[in-house]
Symmetry: D2
Subunit: 215 residues, 4 copies
C-alpha cells in the first residue's frame, strides 16, 4: 500500500507549520505501507494543483492531508469536507475568497473515506488526545479535504482520502498566554503514525466508534 | 410570508431548553411575516415526523429550527446539515444511533437555503453576539437541519430551511463554575427576531459576509 | 448605609467599559442603601488618588469597585487583592509597571471584607451567572482592590471594601468570533443590584457558600 | 544546593497524578543541585504534616511542590498562596473544608520566594508552554503553597519555597472530548528541569519578566 501524506507550509506569518514538521518526521514505512510526501502551498487553487500533480506522480492508495488547527487540544481526523471557500484571512498570495464554491457544480459535501473512528481509537489507545471533527473550517484545509474527496469521486475511484488537523506545536504556544493548547511535534508524529496504522488495518469501512457531539 | 419556527423540548435532564423558551416568546408577526410554532421532541426519527406534520399543516415559506448549543457564546445560524446521526448521549426515549444515515441514500450534506450571513450581520448590528457555524453536530439538531433541507429538496421546492443554535440561558449557567457561557433568553428572542427580519428581507440569496474559519 | 460604587473608564482602545456603563445605570437606592458613584481612570497611581478623593468626599460605609474581565463568562466578586502591579499592556497614560508593589511595605495581600459568597448566591438565585474569583489579575483592577482594602486597613477601619469583575458586554462580543463570552449590560445591572443587596443584608461576615477551585 | 520536590498522589478517582509522575522521572541532579523527593497525600492537614517531616528530614535549600491543574494548557509557577481552604470536592479522606484558614492567625497570603519569571522564561526558551499564575486555587495545592511559604517565614528563614501546576497528561485527555488540554509527562519533566535550573541560577531575586493579566 502506498500512502501520500501532505503537509501545508506555514501561513499567517508563522515560522513553522506543525503539520508539515510532523509529516517530514514520519517514518518511510508504517505498518508495511510506504509513505510518500508532498508539501502544499497555503494558496487557494494552487494547493489543488500541487495535490493533483502529487497524486498523478505517486498514484497512491490513500491520500491523507495534514493541517494546523491552532487552538484545538486534540488531533482531529475530519469527517466531512464542504464545497465552500470563505476566508477570514488572506492566503499566502493574498487571495481571500468569500462564499465561493471550491468545485463549481460539485456536491455540497463529501464524507471522508478514511476510517476516522478507528484512527481515533488507535491514537487514544496510545494515550494521544484524538477526536473526530465534523468541520474542517472554510479555509485551505477544508479546500484540500474537499478536493481530495472530489478527486477520489471523479478520477481515482480506488483511492481513499481524508484530512487530519493537528494542534499548535508546543514551541508555538510557549510564548503565548495560558489558554492556548498545544502538543509536541513528536506527539503528533506518534499520533499520525497510529492513524496511518488504522488506515492500513481497515482497508474497507470503519469501526463504530463512540463520540458524537450535540452541536 | 409564513415562517414556521420550531424549538426542541429539554433533554439530558435539563429543566428547560432555551431554544423552546425563546421560540415561545417570539412575537406573532416579524417584519410582516406571520410566525407559527412547533415543539419538537428530542427523539431521533420522531422529531422528523413531528416536523413533517407541522410543515404539512402550515405550508410555510420558511422553516427555521432552533436548538441549544450548550457552551457556545454566540447565536449561530448553521451553514450545513450532514446525513449522519452519531449520538454521544441517549435521546429522550433512550435511542443512541451510531454512524447512521438520517436519510438512506440521501446526499452527504445540504447547505442551508437561509441567508445566514445576512442573519448574522443583522444580529451583530443590534449588538447581539452572532456567528455562522459550519457544524450542527451529529445529534438531533443536525438531524433536524438535514431533514428540513431534504424536505425542501424533495417535496417542498419553494420552501427555504435552516437552523439556529442558541447558547445556554443565563439561568442554566448561573449555578455552574465560571467558564460556561450563556445569554439571557430575552437576548435570544431579540437575536432570533433580527435573524427572521433578515430572512424576510433576503428572499433570495445571501449577502457576502465576513467570517470564515481556518478550522 | 452609603455605598460608593466605582467604574473604570474604557481602556486598550475600547469604546466602552461595561463596568462603567453598568455602574451608571444602577438605581440610586438599593435595599435602603444610597448609592454614590465615581469614575476611575485606568492609570496606575491616579486611580488610587481618584479613589481616595471619592472616599474622603463621600465617607461611604462600603466601597465597591467594578471592572471589566474580558473573556470571563460570569460576574465574579474578587476574594483577594495582591500587592503587585505587573502590566501586560500600557495603561491609558502609557505606564506599564512591572513587578512593582502597589504599597511599598504593605502586606502581600488583603482578603475582601465583603460577603462574596452571599453576593454570589443572591445573583445565582436570580438566574445570573456568578462565581467567586481568587485572582483580580495584576493590572489596575487588582491595584484598586488592594488599594481599597489598604485604605480600610489603615485609615477607614469601619469601611468595608471589595471588587467585582464583569464580562464583556454583548455589544463588545457581537462582532468577534464565536468563543468570546459576554452578558448584556442590563444583566450586569441586575447582578450588581443583587450583590449590593447581599452586602446590605450581611453587614458582618459572610455565608459559607459552595464553590472552591482545585487550581 | 539541595532541592526538595514534592508531587501529590492521584485524587478525585484519577488513575495517575501527572505531577507525581513527572517528579518521579526528574533526574537526581539538576544544574549541580541534588534533587530529593516526597509524595504528598491529597488530604487537608496531612499534606502539611508529610511536608514538614520531609523538610525536617532533608533540610533542603528549596522546597518546590508540584500539582495538577486539569484544564490548564501551560506549566504554571504560582505567584501567591492564600490562607484559605475552600474545597469544591472532598479530599482523599473525605474532608471538605469550607472557608477555613490554613494557619489560624497567619497573614492572608505569601508571595513565592522562587524566581517565577526566570522559571517561565527558561521553559519558554526551550519551547515549553509556561506562564506565571496568580491563583493556585483553594484546594490542597494552594494549601501546600501557603504551608511551604509559612514554614519559610516562621521556621526555615534560609529556605525558598514555591509551587508549579502542570496540565493534564496526554493519556488523561486522550479519551475526553476535544477541548481538554494536556501535555506529555516527558514535556513536564523537561519543563520542571528548566524551572529548577532557573531556581539554581537565581539564588536571590527574579528577573523582570513580561506577562501580567488584566484579570
Amino acid at each position: 500500500m502506498k500512502i501520500l501524506v501532505t503537509g501545508f507550509e506555514p501561513f499567517e506569518g508563522a515560522a513553522i507549520n506543525p503539520a508539515l514538521e510532523a509529516v517530514r518526521r514520519l517514518p518511510d514505512t508504517i505498518a508495511g505501507a510506504s509513505i510518500v510526501r508532498a508539501e502544499l502551498p497555503v494558496v487557494f487553487g494552487k494547493d489543488i494543483e500541487v495535490l493533483r500533480a502529487a497524486v498523478a506522480e505517486h498514484e497512491p492508495d490513500v491520500t491523507l492531508c495534514i493541517g494546523q488547527a491552532g487552538g484545538r487540544t486534540h488531533i482531529t481526523p475530519e469527517f466531512v469536507g464542504i464545497n465552500y471557500a470563505h476566508a477570514r484571512i488572506p492566503d499566502n498570495e493574498g487571495n481571500q475568497p468569500l462564499a465561493q464554491p471550491i468545485v463549481e457544480g460539485g456536491p455540497d459535501a463529501y464524507f471522508t473515506t478514511l476510517p476516522v473512528h478507528a484512527m481515533v481509537e488507535k491514537m487514544r489507545a496510545a494515550g494521544i488526545p484524538a477526536a473526530v471533527s465534523c468541520t474542517a473550517g472554510t479555509f485551505c484545509c477544508n479546500e484540500m479535504l474537499y478536493a481530495v474527496l472530489h478527486l477520489c469521486a471523479t478520477e481515482y475511484p480506488a483511492m481513499r482520502g481524508g484530512f487530519i488537523h493537528v494542534p499548535y506545536a508546543t514551541e508555538q504556544a510557549a510564548p503565548l498566554a495560558e489558554g492556548t493548547a498545544s502538543l509536541p511535534i513528536e506527539t503528533m508524529v506518534a499520533g499520525l503514525t497510529c492513524a496511518i496504522e488504522a488506515i492500513v488495518e481497515h482497508p474497507e469501512g470503519d469501526v463504530v466508534g463512540a463520540g458524537g457531539r450535540e452541536h
